[in-house]
């Protein structure tokens, strides 16, 4: 009588026929060991599992029902122990067989060509002007500067008069202003926002103002009727021209590189006194011999100065008590210098090929 057959019979009967539990489980174990004496395929592993651990027809279910549950009271501890030992080993072997089969299956899968590209995913570009802006803001924010934008449609007062442009002065013409029908205008610089902030807040003030500005300029590679300006200003009781120099030197080193040096040249703006233009040592050549700096070794990058007392007064601040500095520049130009863009009009065409370089 095969051991499989014996599992279908109550243990009491088998004992009466001369079997004993140790011997029965020994035979069963021997059968199991025969079943898994060779390496098993995934399919054989499944068959092994069904034959031994199947819930209804598995051999261990059978012994559980016919041997363990049916055992006389005094044999139960012995049979239980033998049943558990065998079950533990069968489960371990079945698990091991399954794992081995899974490994085998993974190994059998074809290899990947890891040199093929992944499917196209677009991560959007940041516009170069915005990229330059973010860089500038990252420099000024830790210095305690707030950020504002202000309206683009402005009045003559804020764009010129309050900024100390004499009403009949050529400096107004030089701005090439675009006017609206009612005499309002498109701001030619971000400075009007300086006045608006000084009017509504009290010193100490530290602000970066940025946004679109407009000039009646025919578009070409270096002119655009709309472009972006950024200006920073600080007003307090003891801000000096030396502070302006220190702030801007820090700024250009951070933006253009640590070796950058700034040169302050006296200049003229109606809204600052003293006024200066800032040239930086050319970041693109070491010997002052490149096209970008026109063989001078210097590039003019921004205008600045101490805020004219008339401007402070026009904004309602007492120039006997407060003073400050202001500096402004074209973000487009900064972006063009930094990212090697040779035509400002590329900024405003929306050409995907251009923009994607800034992803």
């Amino acid at each position: 009588m095969s051991i499989e057959h014996k599992t279908g019979r109550p243990i009491g009967e088998l004992i009466r026929e001369g079997e004993d539990p140790e011997q029965l489980y020994g035979e069963l174990r021997a059968a199991f060991e025969r079943d898994c004496s060779e390496a098993l395929t995934a399919q054989q592993g499944q068959a092994l599992r069904d034959r031994w651990l199947g819930r209804r027809s598995g051999l261990l279910s059978a012994t559980n029902d016919h041997w363990l549950k049916a055992a006389p009271r005094e044999l139960k501890p012995v049979v239980g122990k033998l049943q558990n030992l065998l079950r533990r080993d069968v489960e371990a072997a079945v698990k091991a067989a399954a794992e081995a089969a899974a490994r085998e299956q993974v190994q059998a899968e074809p290899e990947l060509d890891t040199t093929l590209p992944g499917p196209g995913r677009a991560y959007g570009a940041v516009h170069p002007v915005r990229l330059a802006l973010e860089e500038v803001l990252d420099i000024f924010r830790p210095l305690g500067y707030s950020v504002a934008e202000g309206p683009e449609i402005e009045t003559f007062f804020y764009n010129f008069e309050a900024l100390n442009f004499p009403p009949d002065h050529p400096a107004v013409d030089e701005m090439d202003t675009l006017f609206l029908e009612d005499g309002a205008l498109l701001r030619t610089h971000t400075s009007p926002c300086q006045i608006r902030i000084m009017e509504s807040e009290s010193p100490p003030l530290r602000y970066v103002v940025h946004g679109k500005v407009y000039r009646n300029d025919t578009p070409d590679a270096t002119h655009s009727p709309m472009f972006h300006q950024l200006e920073m200003f600080a007003v307090d009781e003891s801000i000096t021209f030396g502070d302006l120099k220190g702030t801007l030197e820090h700024f250009v080193r951070r933006f253009f590189g640590p070796q950058t040096q700034a040169r302050f040249r006296p200049s003229f703006f109606p809204f600052t006194e003293p006024s200066a233009e800032v040239d930086i040592t050319c970041p693109f050549c070491s010997d002052g011999a490149c096209r970008i700096c026109k063989q001078t070794g210097f590039i003019e990058v921004l205008g600045c100065g101490m805020i004219d007392p008339n401007v402070l007064r026009n904004a309602g601040l007492d120039p006997e008590r407060y003073q400050g500095f202001a500096a402004g520049f074209g973000l487009d130009r900064f972006a063009m210098l930094k990212y090697n863009i040779d035509d400002i009009l590329l900024m405003y065409q929306g050409d995907s090929r251009f923009l994607r370089q800034f992803r």
Binding site: I153, E174, P225, T240, K245, F268, E277, Q323, Y348
Partner: protein
């Protein structure tokens, strides 16, 4: 402005090389654009700021050199042999508008011969870019370049009554200027007249009738000071910009007028081209008052951050032609007529600073005295920008101007028009950002771009009650494939639901509940029934959809393009939603599929609405939507997948069966739809 090194040397000693001098002047605020060598002569090309008319000539520039190196300055010689009757007996000058003309100096020359100017003078003029004309014209140009005073020579014999009257023109008077144009004059124009009529447009251009000719023998020379605003208005009015108007409108020096007249007389006498009658006819009714400027010693430190030695301050100011007198706390400095731009202590501080050298002011950093103000809506904007990027839209920026035609088709508000637009394509401020985006899409399609995703953060412009509003708008544009095509995935065209999904992602951080879809009132530049809006709490947040194919075709766009407008002022106004954590379910959700045949008239929103609220209902999803084969016309087949979930315990089969039965019954009773499974 071209300046000759040799001419500067007439007035100041220069030991430095041209390059060194150029650098020194540049660093003092006289920007040298180029140093050139022409015919053995060094020529500097200057870019002189509009506040410094005093330096737009050789003597003025020499004064700068003298100040920088603290060297003596020599004035041009005005020594002159005079003979004959006094000038005043041969010509008269009267100023009837002393506000417009502050000073008028006349000089009379007789026996003038029309001969070429001497070579040295012609050479200097030509190196400065001025063509030699005749001896008198050359003289006036020479002195203009030398000391900056514009002058004008009249043929005295052609001046009625040998008289000069400076007055406003009378209505109806005309003047043929030297360029041959007949000018209609009004009382806004300051004119130089003879006893009868206008003979020159003051400070701008002379008249043809009194022009110097080869026959001219007797000359009246004018050296005057005109009010800058008067000259500016005339020059602008006639669009007539001359060397003279350029200087007068920036401000000349009334004390230079007699010197210029004398200098021309001296040069005329020296070159033997005529006789100089004794004396000037100097009409100077009222010397303008110049202020006494106060310069406090402490203010120098307060503005510059450094103390400058008293001797240095006085040395600089004296070299620039000021006469400072010192006292305990600083200096009193009378303003000077050659530097009308210097009126206040701060102006003097600037003079001290620029000559002392900005480079000699040490760089410092100000102490932070203010906590930065948070930028309004910065967090909202940062979140939106990050999401737009993540969805693969490339940020673009377009011009804020569009054409009035575009404004009419795309905008609902009356556009804000420009008075002096650059072109008809850009004649109004945009009242919609869609045309800007359409232009960009068109640009890319013309360049065969198969995958285009653009986003613009910008503004639109409109009138408000008091002034203007510039609300922010985010515009999206998409055309071509849904993803960048690749070997790994089949190419698929982008469509309405791609855009809708993107907008859902963009709005999610701002909204507690999903926005409702708006199908009424969609703007007509969208394709009918292929566009919609989104609304939340009664506010319209976005329009999106396919651009009207008719509009697209007009722009030579031959494939569907998708645009969206997200009204950022409304969206950001809601603020970022503060996320709150709810309970997570301990057991998985259970789903059932329902196969429905739905008449076209019933949209998906009606179906979810009909399902309505149910206990433990988690979500209702359209798993499949199918039209065509085996589906009768006028209907579509919808596989509805419904999920139920209870947080703490599993739902039993019986419970889910009950839910499913209830759902079927609702669809049946509310919409008449029979479920097939």
């Amino acid at each position: 402005m071209r300046i000759l090194l040799s001419w500067l040397r007439d007035f100041v000693e220069i030991k430095e090389s041209p390059r060194e001098l150029a650098d020194a002047l540049t660093m003092a605020g006289m920007a040298v654009d180029a140093v050139e060598s022409e015919a053995g002569e060094t020529v500097f090309e200057f870019d002189i700021t509009s506040n410094r008319p005093d330096a737009m000539n050789h003597f003025g520039m020499a004064r700068e050199v003298a100040a920088i190196y603290r060297r003596p300055l020599r004035a041009p010689s005005t020594a002159c042999a005079e003979s004959g009757p006094p000038a005043a007996s041969k010509a008269s000058v009267a100023i009837q508008d002393p506000d417009g003309c502050v000073r008028y100096v006349g000089r009379v020359f007789t026996d003038v011969e029309a001969r070429p100017s001497p070579d040295w003078m012609r050479r200097r003029l030509e190196l400065c870019g001025i063509r030699s004309i005749n001896n008198l014209a050359d003289l006036t140009n020479y002195v203009l370049l030398e000391i900056g005073q514009p002058t004008h020579a009249f043929d005295l014999d052609r001046l009625a009554g040998a008289a000069i009257v400076v007055r406003r023109a009378r209505h109806g008077e005309t003047l043929v200027t030297l360029d041959g144009e007949e000018r209609d004059l009004t009382d806004g124009h300051l004119t130089i007249c003879d006893a009868e009529r206008p003979v020159a447009l003051a400070g701008v251009m002379g008249g043809q009738a009194s022009e110097i000719t080869a026959e001219t023998r007797n000359v009246l020379l004018e050296a005057a000071w005109f009010r800058p605003s008067v000259i500016r208005n005339a020059a602008r009015g006639f669009k007539l910009f001359t060397e003279a108007s350029h200087r007068f409108e920036r401000g000349a020096d009334w004390n230079a007028a007699p010197r210029a007249a004398d200098r021309i007389a001296a040069l005329l006498a020296r070159t033997g081209l005529g006789r100089v009658l004794p004396g000037q006819v100097d009409c100077f009714p009222q010397q303008p008052r110049l202020s006494l400027i106060r310069l406090e010693r402490t203010h120098i430190r307060r503005h510059l951050g450094i103390q400058v030695d008293d001797a240095e301050v006085e040395g600089i100011l004296s070299a620039l032609g000021f006469e400072p007198s010192s006292d305990k706390s600083g200096w009193s400095v009378p303003a000077v007529s050659h530097r009308l731009d210097v009126e206040r202590g701060i102006d003097l501080i600037e003079e001290v600073a620029r000559i002392h050298g900005f480079a000699n002011i040490p760089a410092t950093l100000p102490l932070v005295g203010a906590a930065p103000e948070p930028t309004p809506q910065a967090a909202e904007d940062a979140r939106m920008r990050a999401a737009v990027r993540g969805l693969g839209y490339d940020e673009t920026i377009g011009f804020a101007f569009i054409s009035s035609d575009e404004a009419g088709r795309f905008g609902s508000d009356d556009p804000v028009s420009l008075r002096n637009p650059l072109s008809q394509l850009w004649d109004v401020m945009r009242n919609s950002a869609v045309p800007t985006m359409v232009r960009a899409l068109e640009w890319n399609l013309r360049r065969n771009q198969p995958f285009v995703r653009l986003a613009e953060f910008g503004r639109v412009y409109r009138r408000s009650e008091a002034s203007y509003e510039e609300p922010g708008v985010l515009t999206l544009g998409a055309t071509g494939t849904a993803r960048q095509a690749s070997w790994a995935e089949p190419a698929r065209e982008v469509g309405f639901y791609d855009i809708k999904a993107d907008i859902a992602v963009l709005l999610a951080p701002f909204l507690a509940n999903a926005p409702s879809i708006v199908t009424e009132g969609v703007p007509t530049y969208y394709r009918k029934k292929h566009a919609a809006g989104l609304r939340s709490d009664g506010e319209l947040l976005a329009w999106f959809g396919e651009l009207d194919p008719e509009l697209a075709r007009e722009r030579k766009i031959r494939q569907p393009v998708w645009v969206a407008e997200i009204f950022l002022d409304k969206v950001y106004g809601k603020g970022l939603r503060r996320p709150t954590h709810g309970k997570l379910a301990k057991v998985p959700a259970v789903s059932r599929d329902f196969s429905l045949l739905v008449p076209d008239a019933i949209d998906f929103a009606s179906i979810t609405e009909a399902v309505g609220e149910m206990p433990d209902l988690d979500s209702v999803e359209p798993a499949e939507v199918f039209r065509g084969k085996n589906v009768p016309d006028g209907s579509y087949s919808l596989l509805l997948r419904v999920w139920w979930q209870r947080l703490d315990e599993s739902l039993t089969d019986e419970e889910v069966n009950e839910f499913a039965a209830e759902l079927r019954s609702r669809l049946q009773s509310r919409l008449g739809i029979t479920t097939r499974t």
